[in-house]
């Protein structure tokens, strides 16, 4: 599947980050990150393990607080939000976790109902069922509705995790390593799903990965995180045409191993 080029409105940034810094103890993970993510685009953040990719999206979703810098999501400054306001913002920002983070003690149906019931009180049973079945159908796993997460494969868990996020109809999707630990065929399926979700639900996405195939298939724009800062941004071809040795070695490692 060849990814079609989209027209991105660069005057409409839904996420805007300036001078973001984050450290854990003496380990400085993010050292002044600047980033704009525009309405409707799929931005892929590439980088080696431990470079702070996941930390970046955890800050965007309000799971972590920045040490310094501005993080503006859908016009709201994350660090300044009160608890109630942060909760409301989170309804618009979906987060798909690396290990899916499905609730072990609940069936697939209950996993999907959980955010819906809590955030749309007053919904009738039939409406809840329709919503659950609709998103499960969108990820192609309607048949697993009564199964427990432990009965699902890694790829299925990823899809269900994405479905649980989609049920709240977010404007922004954050994917943390969507293809990590999956076989190549399932990786391709997940990449297609990310593109389908973007087209069907008109979301803006940030995809955290170190899988270059995933980056190439899903990304409208690539941003490469090196040494706590974005070293280079652009299309896939622009980024890897760079002379930067760190970028080249990343490319070579992925495609020559």
């Amino acid at each position: 599947m060849v990814k079609e080029q989209k027209a991105i409105d660069k005057n409409n940034a839904v996420i805007s980050i300036r001078g973001l810094q984050k450290a854990f103890g003496n380990l400085h993970v993010l050292r002044g990150v600047d980033l704009d993510v525009y309405q409707g685009e799929n931005l892929v953040v590439l980088g080696r393990s431990g470079t702070g990719k996941s930390v970046l999206i955890k800050i965007i979703s309000g799971l972590l607080l920045p040490d310094e810098g501005e993080v503006n999501v859908l016009g709201q400054e994350i660090a300044e939000l009160k608890n109630r306001e942060l909760m409301e913002l989170r309804l618009k920002v979906g987060f798909s976790f690396q290990n899916s983070a499905l609730y072990d003690s609940m069936t697939v149906r209950q996993n999907l109902e959980f955010p819906l019931v809590r955030n749309s009180r007053g919904l009738r049973r039939s409406q809840i069922n329709n919503e659950v079945e609709s998103v499960l159908d969108a990820v192609g796993l309607l048949q697993t509705i009564e199964q427990m997460p432990s009965e699902l494969s890694g790829g299925q868990r990823k899809r269900i995790g994405i479905a649980r996020t989609l049920i709240l109809r977010p404007e922004i999707m954050l994917y943390d390593e969507p293809t990590a630990g999956l076989d190549p065929i399932t990786c391709i399926e997940i990449n297609h799903l990310i593109n389908e979700v973007q087209q069907k639900y008109k979301t803006t996405s940030i995809i955290i990965t170190h899988d270059l195939t995933c980056a190439k298939e899903t990304g409208d724009r690539i941003a490469m995180l090196l040494d706590g800062q974005f070293a280079i941004q652009g299309t896939f071809d622009e980024v890897f045409a760079s002379d930067d040795l760190r970028v080249q070695s990343f490319y070579n490692y992925n495609f020559t191993q």
Partner: protein, 268 residues
Amino acid sequence: MDPNAENPNIPPQKYFISKKVDDFFFTIYTIYQFILRFFRELFIPPYEFKEIIRQCYEVGVNSLPLISLTGFITGIVFTSQSRPSLANFGATSWIPSLVSIAIVRALAPLVTALIAAGKVGSNMGAELGSMKVTEQIDAMEVSATNPFKFLVVSRIIATTCMIPILVMYTAFVALLGSFLNVHSNEQTSFVMFFSQVFDSLSFLDLFSSSFKSTVFGFTIGVVGCYCGYNSTKGTEGVGKAANSAVVAAMFLIFVEEIVIVSIVNAFR
């Protein structure tokens, strides 16, 4: 600003006394904050009634078989161990009074609380710890659900409400075990046995037992949830959370027992 400079938001690693002592006081402070947050969230809607009822079932009904067996055996063993000493003074007729006071004042609350600390506390520590390390708690948070209210508040309410009920049940089962022992040795009737039991109990005994059980239940809930909710370091952390939930809860139960008994005895 130079991004490579020392981060001003991270305090330098200096200790007031020593790392261990500082860590101990820091843990006390975080537990205090955890308890404060519980009381704050307790009164703020939405209320998770369904989850509270589910947790009450988990804590209460699922503990019944173990509690029944332990309570029954405690009653029998305590009665048969007391008999020889009382027989020396020809006072075996005092067995029901002695047993009832011992069971209601001390044995039932302690036995129930210790078993609940082992079963329920470790379960909470492991379950929440596992949810923490597999990012399930983060997943709740990003789906605009308050995980503290859903997971912690409901569990602490459940243990605080169910442990006193379990204690009453344990006391009844232990007295039943005691009655069977007394009946088989002294041919005492059921009515005679229980009238002696109730004659020897005062309101203060029942009140202190209920109060103590409520405190024990709250402690088991807080410690189990605190250890699980704050667990780190992957699967190793889950094991540690379950273990420390049991050890800390048992230790605190004994400390509380001593304190409450001292206070109640001052009123006796």
